[in-house]
């Protein structure tokens, strides 16, 4: 157990852009490394990060992202998003940041619980076989809230 006041971190990941996915993963893993419990609830587009066929093909957002310092028109050209994503993945690899699939494996092995949102799974017509094997289950939002029902729990929407 950690000595911190925060005992448990619950992340809701609703987006599948690389920057959001990695933010959630790094924080969830960081929590486990500090002895804090952590769980991630994948909803809406966040589900792409746990779909076997899609998780290694996530992109960084080049349009509508002023921090890319690139004109929006240029960011929308074919191939620009792929190129920017490739460059970012290369930089992350230099820092020994694992690719999405391996990161999920690390999280699961570290005791971080991984949940899919039932409503979003139904909406995108997904089945359990489409999702990663390390998934801990498919939950309703009510189920997820019940997991927050203890002292020192924080919820974070990403």
């Amino acid at each position: 157990m950690s000595n911190t006041k925060v005992k448990k971190m619950l992340f809701i990941l609703s987006k599948a852009t690389l920057e959001n996915v990695y933010a959630a993963f790094v924080m969830a893993n960081g929590a486990r490394m500090e002895g804090i419990e952590s769980e991630i609830f994948f909803t809406f587009f966040g589900l792409e990060a746990i779909q076997k066929k899609k998780l290694e093909h996530l992109h960084v957002a080049t349009v509508g992202n002023p921090a890319m310092h690139m004109p929006t028109m240029l960011g929308g050209l074919p191939g620009v998003e792929a190129l920017a994503s490739k460059m970012m993945k290369k930089e992350m690899d230099k820092l020994d940041m694992p690719p999405v699939g391996e990161f999920l494996e690390i999280l699961s092995d570290s005791g971080c619980k991984l949940w899919a949102c039932k409503l979003a799974v139904d909406m995108f017509h997904l089945e359990e076989k489409d999702l990663i094997d390390d998934l801990d289950g498919i939950l309703t939002i009510g189920d997820f809230y019940s997991r927050a029902d203890q002292e020192g729990t924080q919820l974070l929407f990403i």
């Binding site: 157990m1 950690s2 790094v26 893993n29 960081g30 486990r32 490394m33 500090e34 002895g35 820092l95 020994d96 940041m97 694992p98 391996e102 690390i106 092995d109 570290s110 005791g111």
Partner: protein
């Protein structure tokens, strides 16, 4: 600051990490482990050896590195050093707390 442990005086930082690795020995490691609620076994020492090797070779420590180490997997690592494995293992090993975020 100075700390007396296992009949020796060592210098540690505020969190309890040794500031001079040359002061470390196995008895000190065992005592620090006890303070962290860990009873050292052969498997624990195997991990500490690996961590100290990485430190001596100036390889940064990370959870991914543990996965690739071939010494143990991540689940075993969390089971051996519950509640912050890399933090506790480095403290027992007498090396600085890792600065990596991963």
């Amino acid at each position: 600051m100075d700390k007396t442990i296992a009949q020796a005086t060592i210098s540690v930082d505020q969190e309890g990490y040794l500031t001079d690795f040359s002061q470390w020995n196995k008895e000190i490691g065992t005592e620090i482990a006890k303070e962290q609620g860990i009873e050292m076994t052969d498997k624990h020492w195997e991990v500490i050896d690996y961590i100290q090797d990485q430190f001596k070779n100036e390889h940064p420590l990370s959870i991914r590195g543990i996965k690739k180490s071939g010494v143990l997997n991540i689940k075993e690592f969390y089971a051996l050093f519950p509640g912050g494995p890399l933090k506790k293992a480095t403290m027992i090993a007498g090396i600085p707390k890792p600065k990596s975020c991963i």
